[in-house]
Symmetry: C2
């Protein structure tokens, strides 16, 4: 009987570390969870991760683990290390690939950050399956991105490329967590659209459900609900967000010219409220020979388990390239 | 006796088509020129190009032509065709690679646009020799660019990627030849800095040599001379140009994170007048983990025959990859 070739996708979050055994077409066989902060010492955590992988392999009949993909905040593909991740319990540089490789010396092990893992996930399991040039953008707590060109993720010289969220879109704009002002992330993320609602409330006399709430009390998804109920402030906030995002995407396209742009994350779930103004601004700001040629699409991983699939896809992508 | 393996670099301009036989390390053996507009029919031009190549090979003892690299306005690497080049005498899509390949069926023939050819030239013969990630920017009549990531030029889905000059840097900014407003090219090119001088003259009462000339009468290089002579308007024009260029480069870096950025062309020849304000703005606008890490350098091809070397490098780059 043939063995079932699978990879383990590992998503390292500040609260949980999630594991899943995944095949080439995205079926998830078994899953497992461990607490990330339970392990104060990084080597203890590595031992626990190793134990889960060994256990998972035993749980699927005839399974053979041929790869391990790891998505982690600040995971660096080039170095195989996690560097200075603010929401993980360990400090400094964490060479997770080298440490796991000692336990699994002949297994392909790949690390990347969450946004790149999701982008590779779109390429292996989603809408970018046959594309060699695309852009994947996550609109969540922040704005993350992965640029794929010539069939390869653009990692840059230091492995940290693809920071579309930190392109400056407004000179002297909003304060960003990065210490600068005017980054795309301060406008096109979930907190960014809340800031836009706040700005609109200050400028306009229009009534809105958000006049009666503090910024702490509402979430970005409430803005979608309000827009659906016809709240003019909410609708205007989406329009402004889309205008800024559309211009930023048009500028990024001038550099990399993708076949398509995939939007993912909380804001992307708002559907046409965000897609319509984004596409309109994108088409208005793009060079004429790209007009109506570059698709802006919702990610096909939006309603799937992207953390497991994205991580697993890192290993499959690496295995695919090795077999070419 | 061993044959001397050479490539032919061909630079197609609106006035002349230049040819040179070039070895792997950038020695140019023989050169030749033909008039481009002399050939009204594209097929006649192709025949003339073929004849020159055959003649060149005979002129160098023991030479073997193993590649042909062609740099041309609107040359598309992906399709091997020149499309709608405004300053060439032929209309429509010109499949130059396919047509030449018929005469030289076993020779590697590569087409690209001028800016990409110069960028590959920097990689094969210049300062980017050992770099896998760099950005090459030409500051001339327009602003051209070539982005190399993972050792490969980013061509994008349609072969037209790398249009840094058409990133919009000022909303509702200066009118651009592309039909939009605020493109980097309207500020950081030779005509762009002239426009900045004009703007400064309107805003300030400062005396300047340019108060006594029409825009037609002076060239960008006169602005360098004036700056050297202490003309405050000229110096301010460079500072403003550098500020806009530095921010645009910082934003591009957030996407591709090159090891270095090479500046080439007329404006780059102005030395510290352009480099100092550009580097200052770049460092001020860049994400903190890239501060002081990415070099902005003058192109090492600046005083060489870049049109021949850039075109020749296209063939060498392709041959190098084939032999890996």
């Amino acid at each position: 009987m043939d063995t079932k070739k699978l990879v383990v996708g590992i998503d390292i979050g500040g609260t949980n570390t999630k594991f899943g055994m995944v095949d080439r077409i995205g079926n998830i066989y078994v899953e497992e969870n461990i607490s990330t902060p339970f392990y104060r010492v990084f080597d203890d955590y590595i031992n626990a991760v190793k134990d889960v992988i060994v256990k998972l392999e035993k749980n699927v009949e005839n399974a053979e683990i041929i790869g391990i993909g790891i998505g982690a905040p600040n995971g660096n593909h080039n170095t195989g290390a996690i560097a200075l991740a603010a929401n993980l319990p360990w400090t400094g540089i964490l060479p997770i690939v080298a440490k796991l490789q000692k336990f699994f010396p002949s297994t392909c092990i790949v690390l990347d950050n969450d946004a790149n893992a999701a982008a590779i996930g779109e390429m292996i399991y989603g809408g970018a399956a046959k594309m060699r040039d695309f852009l994947f953008v996550t609109l969540g707590t922040g704005v993350g991105s992965g640029f794929v060109a010539n069939g390869e993720m653009i990692y840059g010289h230091d492995g940290l490329a693809g920071e579309l969220g930190h392109v400056i879109v407004e000179k002297n704009g909003r304060e960003c967590g990065c210490g600068r002002c005017g980054c795309l992330e301060t406008y096109a993320s979930a907190p960014g659209i809340k800031r836009t609602v706040s700005e609109l409330l200050s400028k306009s006399n229009e009534d809105s459900v958000f006049r009666h709430k503090s910024l702490d009390e509402f979430e970005a998804k409430n803005i979608t609900e309000a827009a659906q109920n016809g709240d003019k402030i909410a609708i205007a906030a989406f329009r402004i967000t889309g205008e800024i995002l559309g211009l930023a995407l048009a500028n990024a396209v001038a550099i990399t010219v993708p076949e398509a742009i995939f939007l993912f994350g909380g804001l992307a779930k708002s559907g046409n409220f965000i897609f319509e103004p984004t596409i309109a601004a994108f088409e208005r700001n793009i060079l004429k020979f790209w007009k109506d040629k570059i698709k802006i699409l919702p990610s096909e991983l939006q309603n799937k388990d992207v953390s497991i699939l994205g991580s697993a896809s890192l290993a499959w992508n690496s295995i695919n390239k090795g077999s070419l």
